[in-house]
């Protein structure tokens, strides 16, 4: 099998980001359902938070690729 431990690192980082973004999405849906009139605020904050979570995962992915 061709590959390296870095690939496992990338996968782990993606799992973390997946859980994080999944939680954000779930909570945002819940919040929208509770308060449909606040959908605009919730959506832009959701995107902001998802971007922040994603940032950590992307650093991990790029690092694991660079130091492979």
């Amino acid at each position: 099998m061709v590959g390296s431990i870095a690939a496992i690192g990338m996968g782990l980082a993606v799992i973390g980001a997946g859980i994080g973004i999944g939680n954000i999405g779930a909570k945002a849906m819940e919040a929208i359902a509770r308060q449909p009139e606040a959908v605009g605020d919730i959506r832009s904050n959701m995107i902001l938070m998802a971007a922040l979570v994603e940032g950590a995962a992307l650093i991990a992915i790029v690092m694991s690729y660079l130091v492979r």
Partner: protein, 407 residues
């Protein structure tokens, strides 16, 4: 490169074709001596290589299969500056941008200029047999019976796409630069036109292009600038708007199929410049509260400050770093997935030998690509929005007025 193999592998395993898997293993696994006999093998289909070739910057501009030469401006210490059109490399007009000639010690490899490492390599226009690559994707020029190694590409991508520290500098008007100029001109045209319309139609409802851009502009103003930048938002709004519309324009321009397929926002050097701009604006407009919260956080015990200060100082640099990586990774991943979905046709068609397999994959692969492209349209907007909103929030945190009662 192992990464390409991983991508190829994951795609192949995903579609459960064990026989193809074994074939790939053969190509990459054995360590046979590289020679000029491999020129013909070098064009065997490999989805990873194809993807990396298409998302990389190039010294030719391709519209469909047609290759258009671009000016090369190259510098190295021994030979100094050299300027010429990349058509001097004599690439095929309907090919992949492989030059048939070496010129002034440079060769064109898959659309990108490389410098031959041997200083005795002839400087005038010389015919070469071809270029071969080893597993690490180092290129070797075949001329006569000899193989000449070349330096890595001169692209500021920290070695991610085979660029890195090289003894020559490539200041050429590359594909990405041309795309940037095109989008820049287009934006200038649109916004000057709209500005004129606002002046001549003051107090009236917007029409035409004006009516298309105004909701986007007002959306960014209301969702990004006003909530994050506070009362002084008008001071930073031009910067945020320029970032948003330039990134959006480049993202969308990169989505146009067969028209250059430029990947400007998926270029680490480009996103790094944007992130450095955001970093400079944030830190130069930071007030004393901002710096005090970084260096000596008020209201926490002294021993906590010894931990907090290094973290906050690191945070100053990590913020633009994530800005850079987020845009780069999202757009690059999008382009790569699209290319690999198209590549499925050639993987199943076994590079032309299995016509039925290839034809059978055309429709599923086309549908997958269309699906991915529509997602990428969404991502183009979201990433431009995210870049703008994050920059605004960083600047907003730096210029915020702190009331001591809040602590």
């Amino acid at each position: 490169m192992r990464f390409k193999t991983i991508i190829t592998f994951s795609i192949l395993i995903f579609f459960g074709s064990a026989s193809l898997n074994a074939g790939q293993e053969e190509n990459h696994g054995d360590n046979h001596e590289l020679s000029c006999e491999d020129i013909s093998h070098d064009h065997d289909f490999d989805a990873g290589t194809t993807a990396f070739h298409h998302i990389a910057d190039a010294n030719v501009y391709s519209i469909g299969p047609l290759q258009i030469p671009l000016p090369c401006i190259l510098y190295n210490k021994q030979d100094g500056l050299s300027m010429f059109l990349s058509s001097k490399f004599g690439f095929d007009n309907l090919g992949h941008g492989d030059g048939h000639y070496a010129y002034e010690g440079y060769v064109l490899d898959g659309g990108t200029v490389r410098m031959v490492a041997d200083p005795n390599f002839p400087k005038e226009k010389t015919e070469i047999k071809g270029i071969v690559h080893d597993i690490e994707n180092n290129a070797f020029v075949c001329m006569g019976d000899q193989m000449y190694p070349t330096y890595a590409k001169s692209t500021a991508d920290f070695g991610l796409f085979g660029g890195g520290i090289t003894p020559f500098f490539d200041f050429s008007i590359t594909k990405n630069v041309v795309s940037m100029f095109l989008v820049f001109m287009f934006m200038l045209f649109i916004f000057i036109k709209i500005a004129k319309a606002y002046r001549s139609r003051e107090g009236q409802a917007p029409i035409g292009l004006q009516g298309f851009i105004e909701p986007i502009f007002v959306f960014i103003q209301d969702e990004v600038c006003k909530p994050f930048l506070g009362s002084k938002y008008l001071r930073y709004q031009p910067f945020i708007m320029s970032l948003f519309f330039f990134i959006l324009g480049l993202n969308l321009f990169g989505q146009i199929p067969f028209f250059g397929g430029s990947n400007v926002t998926g270029n680490l050097a480009f996103t790094a410049v944007l992130a450095i701009l955001a970093f400079l604006v944030t830190n130069f407009s930071g007030n004393k509260h901002y710096w005090m919260h970084i260096i000596w956080m008020p209201g926490v015990p002294a021993w906590v400050k010894t931990i907090l200060t290094p973290v906050e100082v690191l945070g100053v640099f990590i913020k633009p770093l994530t800005l850079m990586l987020r845009l780069f990774a999202n757009i690059t991943a999008g382009h790569m997935v699209i290319i690999i979905f198209v590549s499925l046709i050639f993987i199943f068609g076994n590079n032309g030998t299995n016509l039925a397999g290839g034809l059978g994959t055309v429709i599923p692969s086309g549908l997958l690509t269309l699906f991915m492209m529509s997602i990428e349209l969404l991502v183009a907007f979201i990433q431009a929005f995210v870049f703008a909103i994050l920059t605004a929030s960083y600047i907003g945190a730096a210029v915020e007025d702190h009331h001591e009662a809040a602590h």
